[in-house]
Symmetry: C2
Subunit: 214 residues, 2 copies
């Protein structure tokens, strides 16, 4: 271990951060190893020393990004909270996190389209002992029972848990994926977009829950 490790961040992580920035800005195929090196302030050869190849680096960036975005959503979905609370928590959390890294949805969608193998690898990876592939079904089933109970009580519209999740995430994520278009359409050079998102933070949960009324 070098002395600097205690003061500066681990070099590998600094490279990963730089790669994250560059890969999200240019896209994986459009990103250049030299640009990542410059962004990290290190020699290009060092990227290969730590991550073997561009492919290796891309994989690491994708995995870390996915692990930061998805688990919180799954945690909320699988919690003991009432449906109304879950919706409000998801909306608040998603809109918050996406406001901070607006390129994230576009990057992830592009990656899963052009490199679906990354997703498969991610699903079979172990996180805290279990693979996401085995984590998802119980959450969906739990949500299904929760919905069905409310449907029987006549306080909720029938809907499959899959469609429930997709609709909710769609409403949260889409504006960020289409952000440049909205900024242009709304005018005011991006200010219009911010206003729109602020309004969504206040109204989206109510809109969605209204759709769920019987």
């Amino acid at each position: 271990m070098a002395k600097r490790d205690e003061v500066e961040r681990e070099t590998g992580e600094a490279i990963l951060d730089a790669a994250h920035t560059v890969f999200l800005r240019r896209g994986t195929a459009g990103a250049r190893m030299q640009e990542v090196a410059d962004e990290a302030g290190v020699n290009k050869a060092l990227l290969h020393y730590y991550f073997r190849s561009k492919e290796g680096l891309a994989e690491a960036v994708f995995t870390r990004a996915a692990r930061r975005l998805f688990p919180p959503v799954l945690a909320i979905m699988g919690s003991e909270a009432a449906i109304e609370e879950k919706v409000e928590q998801i909306v608040e959390h998603e809109l918050e996190i996406l406001s901070e890294s607006p390129y994230l949805p576009g990057y992830l969608m592009s990656e899963i389209h052009h490199h679906p193998e990354r997703l498969e690898q991610l699903m079979s990876m172990t996180m805290s002992g279990v693979s996401p592939a085995h984590l998802l079904p119980p959450i969906v089933e739990k949500l299904r029972r929760q919905i069905d109970k409310r449907v029987e009580a006549g306080t909720l519209r029938p809907i499959s848990p899959e469609q429930f999740i997709i609709n909710l995430i769609a409403l949260c994520v889409f504006p960020f994926a289409a952000r440049p278009m909205l900024e242009l359409a709304l005018g005011q050079g991006g200010r219009g977009f911010e206003v729109l998102i602020e309004e969504r933070k206040r109204t989206l949960a109510a809109f969605f829950l209204n759709a769920m009324r019987p």
Copy 2:
């Protein structure tokens, strides 16, 4: 004009089709001019003869794709139909067109993120005599009046036309943008996704309109 022009398609358009296929499959940055040439069955130099550069070809592909996707939506939004009909028409039209070209949303989102200048150019382009930039505001205002009238009559929940459009498009488009993820999560190797979309064709309009109830 060559004789073949009467039998075969215009060469330029054949190249554009091939570029569309390849650019959507690989992404603009990941696409190779040679692969486009192979797909079109012509020499690589021909691509430059017709489109000058890769950038020129990318611009042409983007413009054509955007012109095919957006105008129908605007036409429906700006029509005289009642709100309920508009929602049903948009859902049906979008889900239909996206089922046929599933890579389209991902491609467009990636492009507008990495090349926002394409979007600006598109907005200032003339289509049938008018630029999209001048086409949008009247449609939005018309929709606003339509919504306000229904709100006053107490048959609709208050919502801005911008949020209305975004929510509707989000629910239609997002599943396709996230398609590889959903195919993996739903299992059955893509069959699950098709089933999901079929269900959405039947239920999405009702879901959305339910959200709009006062």
